[in-house]
């Protein structure tokens, strides 16, 4: 700069301004020039759809400075068949309704509602994987309603009033054999018995219950609970014979059964697929659990490693703890975030001293001078795969050895179908059946784990229901297995429903006591807790259509938090307009028009009209591009 002549800088500046003088002004000029503001997401109008809103008050709570004014009636009405929780449940248990019953202090009615869909209310109350809770709309606000624990509260305080409405059907003279007294088989037996068929359940193990009995340790599902539910099924008329091994379903047909249901389950632990698996001291997860549950003595060392991250692995670990193993470690190849096991159980396992080893996978099992060693390789998480979980990749050269007494492989289970059954199975040795009717071959039906692979109890029950209705059809019935134990609900008035409340903490028995006994860990809720929790429900299947929903004058800052918070997508923020000249009056008119739902447009910028009209935008077009 200093080398130049003084004044040259000024002259340059003068040149720039002079150039600008002859350019088109960038400010929009109207009415001289037609002002065309491109359609775009303006975000200056909050539109509310009257028919989507259910008056759950979430928006009011979300607003930073309370400018939403909403009034709802006391009485709501049913507006959709199924709430998300009900819809997500494989057996379509009407969770929303029995939560309401609990909120009204009628646990008996709640149990009745549950029993309309599943014959195992208590079992589900203790060990259901509760997919309903992951669907709960409340989860977007703070925490989902803990539906399973509410169910447990209901069954713990059951009044048995549902029995008054049992309808017995006349005997049909048809007989059905059910192979395997697992959740699926017993469900089939129950509903077919209710339809009046003579049902015989043939169970190979010494006691009925299948996986519910032998796959799930007692501290999660006490035996009396399971037995009580099975008792109800026997009361319904099903005959259960234990310790009976069946050669083949065809033979049963030959013996005179009209239909056979195969529900043998998946009782074989999948192999790890690493060398040295056959070494003594290496156990399969389900085998281990079965032996423990059946009371056969299992010799377990002090240092135990469980391989896997599922519920079975956690069960094995906690069982091992209760059997006196001092160093129990759980080896999983992903991180805790990806563990399929239920988080609260992982939490409890950690409390009980189970050591979690993440990002490690067994590569070899070897036994040297009588000691058992597990060689693991470290993993690192790679890109996301189709399931959305990040794929683990081994880190070469990161192997390490651990000396152990026992290794339990709890990676997965697979069904074992005897050759003699002569049924078609796929590579995972799962039975191949018609997905609609679960027909394997004429008169032979199959369902449960042996069709689904290792699945949750509730899924098996759902399959059992399907099987039952199709078997009934096959036997000449109408296939209608629905039961009604409750009077049709008259929609109640809102009982509180405080959005401020958080989920109450479920208590558990002191954990030094836990470490030695197999008694139930979880303790049910008190009435207060249960009522509070039930009152948190948003009642997604009801609508308390607001008499008034409006913004208090001029307070809205269009931050959009209410729009994001609304569980029912009843709010929309944004505004697109195109006009020659506009005045405040025009805008307010437009706004009022937009408040009616039919003018609502998809929010965001993806609107096709927006895309078309974008180039017409005045300020993003650079007609006045300076020469470089």
């Amino acid at each position: 700069m200093a080398s130049e002549i003084i004044g040259s800088g000024l002259l340059k500046g003068l040149r720039v301004t002079l150039k600008t003088l002859f350019k088109r002004p960038v400010t929009t000029q109207y009415p001289e020039q037609k002002l065309t503001i491109s359609r775009r997401e303006r975000g200056t109008v909050l539109a509310w759809s009257a028919e989507k809103c259910t008056g759950c008050y979430t928006c009011e709570r979300a607003c930073p400075h309370g400018c939403i004014d909403i009034e709802t009636p006391e009485i709501g009405q049913k507006w959709t068949a199924q709430a998300p929780c009900t819809h997500r449940c494989p057996a379509r248990v009407d969770a929303a309704r029995y939560i309401r019953s609990i909120a009204e202090g009628k646990p008996g009615e709640a149990v009745a509602v549950i029993r309309e869909k599943i014959p195992f209310p208590s079992v589900c109350a203790y060990i259901c994987a509760h997919p309903c809770e992951s669907a709960c709309n409340r989860g977007a606000i703070d925490e989902p309603i803990s539906i399973r624990k509410l169910k447990r509260y209901a069954v713990d305080n059951d009044s048995g009033e549902w029995r008054n409405m049992i309808k017995r059907a006349l005997p049909t003279g048809k007989s059905v054999a059910v192979i395997g007294a697992g959740p699926a088989g017993l469900t089939v037996a129950y509903y077919l018995a209710r339809k009046g068929h003579a049902v015989t359940v043939l169970e190979a193990l010494p006691s009925p219950g299948g996986m519910m009995k032998v796959g799930i340790p007692d501290y999660r599902l006490p035996v009396r609970i399971l037995d009580a539910d099975i008792k109800e099924i026997e009361n319904a008329g099903a005959v259960i014979k234990t310790g009976v091994r069946v050669e083949s379903p065809a033979k049963l047909i030959a013996e005179g059964y009209n239909a056979v249901f195969v529900g043998v389950g998946a009782h074989q632990a999948m192999p790890l697929g690493v060398p040295g698996e056959s070494e003594p001291g290496v156990l399969g997860g389900v085998d281990f659990l079965r032996e423990v549950n059946l009371g056969t003595p299992v010799k377990l060392g002090k240092r135990v490693a469980i391989v896997g991250g599922g519920n079975t692995a956690i069960d094995c670990a906690r069982t091992a703890v209760r059997m006196g193993a001092s160093e129990v470690s759980l080896v999983y190849r992903r991180t805790r975030a990806e563990m399929p096991a239920a988080p609260e159980e992982v939490e409890e396992a950690v409390e009980e001293g189970v050591k979690l080893v993440f990002l490690a996978a067994p590569s070899k099992i070897l036994r040297a001078e009588g000691k058992l060693f597990l060689e693991c390789v470290r993993m690192k998480l790679g890109a996301e795969d189709s399931s959305g979980r990040r794929k683990p990749e081994p880190v070469s050269g990161s192997e390490y050895l651990t000396e152990l007494d026992n290794i339990i492989s709890a990676v997965s289970q697979s069904p074992v179908i005897p050759k003699s059954f002569a049924m078609k199975a796929d590579r995972g040795s799962r039975l191949i059946v018609d997905p609609e009717t679960l027909v394997a071959s004429a008169g032979i039906f199959a369902g449960g784990d042996d069709v689904l692979g290792p699945a949750t109890v509730i899924e098996c029950i759902a399959q059992g229901r399907t099987a039952a209705s199709s078997i009934d059809l096959y036997l000449g019935g109408n296939g209608d297995i629905t039961e009604v134990f409750t009077a049709p609900e008259k929609v109640a008035e809102r009982t509180g429903g405080p959005l401020e409340a958080f989920r109450p903490f479920g208590d558990a028995i002191a954990h030094e006591k836990r470490l030695h006994t197999f008694e139930g860990v979880e303790i049910g809720w008190s009435n207060e807790d249960a009522l509070l929790e039930a009152s948190r429900c948003l009642r997604c299947d009801l609508t308390y259509k607001p008499e008034k929903w409006q913004l208090k004058g001029g307070q809205c800052i269009y931050c959009g938090l209410c729009v994001e918070a609304c569980p029912f997508d009843a709010l929309y923020m944004g505004y697109e307009y195109e006009r020659n000249t506009y005045t405040a009056a025009d805008q307010t008119l437009e706004k009022e028009a937009l408040m009616t739902p039919e003018v609502r447009r998809p929010s965001g910028y993806m609107h096709p009209e927006i895309a078309r009209s974008l180039p017409a935008q005045s300020l993003l077009l650079d007609t006045d591009k300076p020469k470089k």
Partner: protein
């Protein structure tokens, strides 16, 4: 346009006091011209500067916003007229008039066309420089009397500027007087067969810069440096008085551009067109330059503008005077187009050489 009906050939256009209608007509004409042109110039300035800034400018009132200024005038006149409690009331009252009247008086000696002139006094140049100084006093009074610290600082700056820029201005004009060997404006114009802008470029530069300072336009608008002193001397003014002060500034600008075109661009002289048209064209041209500078150049600091006046303009004006003296003594007839490049070259050399002393970023001298 012919003015024969005003000035019979028999009477020399010296002091035409005996033609009372002539006085009357010219006075009314001048005031009208000034008022209208000021209002138009305000509109022009706002439009032009808007375009300099890639804006549109006032475009709602009337066609192309032509009536904007009228609307503003009405708005200002209907405002409440506030006088600060502690203001020096008499001064506060007089100041606007003190500022505005001299500007009008300057016009008295400006020929709008050949002979179309209120009074052609033979000391026009002195008259102009004397009268134009009074405006500054009026502005000083306004700033002084309104008992506001911003206004006071503005007033002080005004006086400082007046004192320091009057001298180079006069010296530049002295060169003109030498060249035209007459002090009457018509004489100065008559001497401009070639506009003085070309024969005395140095004086032209000095005069324009000094004039900018005199009429408080950017880069010398320290008197009302709105970013430092909220509005400078007229902070406390409102309503009618403010209108007058506002009028003063712009009529200063108008008169300033008239002076530039009269002294250096040959006034009404020009081929083909009637003189008044030429004058208007030249006015517009010089006014445009003023606007251009205003919209581009930052404001000087007070000490810097002082420095500019004393250390640059004064010597340059001296140079100009010296050159003119040499020319008038040794080559009196040397006023033809051949000499113009020479003058320009000399000017360029002197300015560039002198500018070397004015590098920015040096430690500035205090006032």
């Amino acid at each position: 346009m012919s003015t024969a009906f005003l000035l019979p050939a028999t009477i020399a256009p010296d002091w035409p006091g005996n033609f009372w209608w002539h006085l009357l007509i010219m006075t009314v004409l001048l005031i009208a011209v000034l008022m209208i042109s000021v209002i138009m110039f305000i509109w022009l300035e706002r439009r032009v500067i808007a375009r300099f800034q890639a804006r549109v400018g006032p475009n709602r009132a009337g066609p192309f916003g032509l009536l904007q200024s009228f609307a503003d005038v009405i708005k200002i006149l209907t405002k409440e007229d506030i006088i600060p409690a502690l203001a020096d009331k008499p001064l506060f009252w007089i100041a606007p008039a003190m500022a505005f009247v001299p500007v009008l008086m300057i016009l008295a000696v400006i020929p709008l066309s050949d002979g179309l002139q209120l009074a052609d006094i033979n000391v026009g140049v002195v008259y102009i420089s004397a009268v134009s100084a009074i405006t500054a006093i009026g502005i000083f009074m306004s700033g002084m009397s309104s008992n506001n610290k911003y206004s006071l600082i503005g007033a002080m700056r005004e006086i400082a500027q007046l004192i320091s820029f009057e001298i180079p201005m006069l010296l530049a004009l002295a060169g003109l007087v030498m060249a035209s060997s007459s002090m009457s404006i018509s004489g100065v114009i008559g001497a401009q067969t070639i506009p003085f802008a070309l024969t005395q470029p140095l004086a032209f530069v000095v005069f324009v810069i000094a004039l900018l300072a005199e009429i408080n336009r950017t880069p010398f608008d320290l008197v009302e440096a709105d970013s430092e002193l909220t509005a400078g001397f007229n902070t406390e003014y409102s309503g009618m008085k403010f209108a007058v002060l506002y009028l003063t500034e712009y009529s200063e600008a108008v008169v300033g551009s008239i002076l530039i075109s009269t002294f250096f661009l040959g006034g009404w002289r020009g081929p083909f067109l009637p003189g008044i048209i030429w004058l208007v064209i030249k006015m517009l041209a010089s006014f445009f330059v003023i606007l251009w500078i205003r919209s581009t150049i930052p404001r000087f600091r007070i000490d810097q503008s002082m420095k500019l006046a004393w250390k640059t303009l004064l010597p340059l004006a001296m140079f100009n005077l010296f050159i003119m003296a040499v020319k008038t003594v040794f080559a009196p007839g040397l006023t033809n187009w051949v000499a113009v490049p020479v003058y320009l070259a000399i000017t360029a050399v002197i300015i560039i050489y002198w500018a070397r002393f004015m590098r920015p970023g040096r430690q500035s001298v205090g006032i």
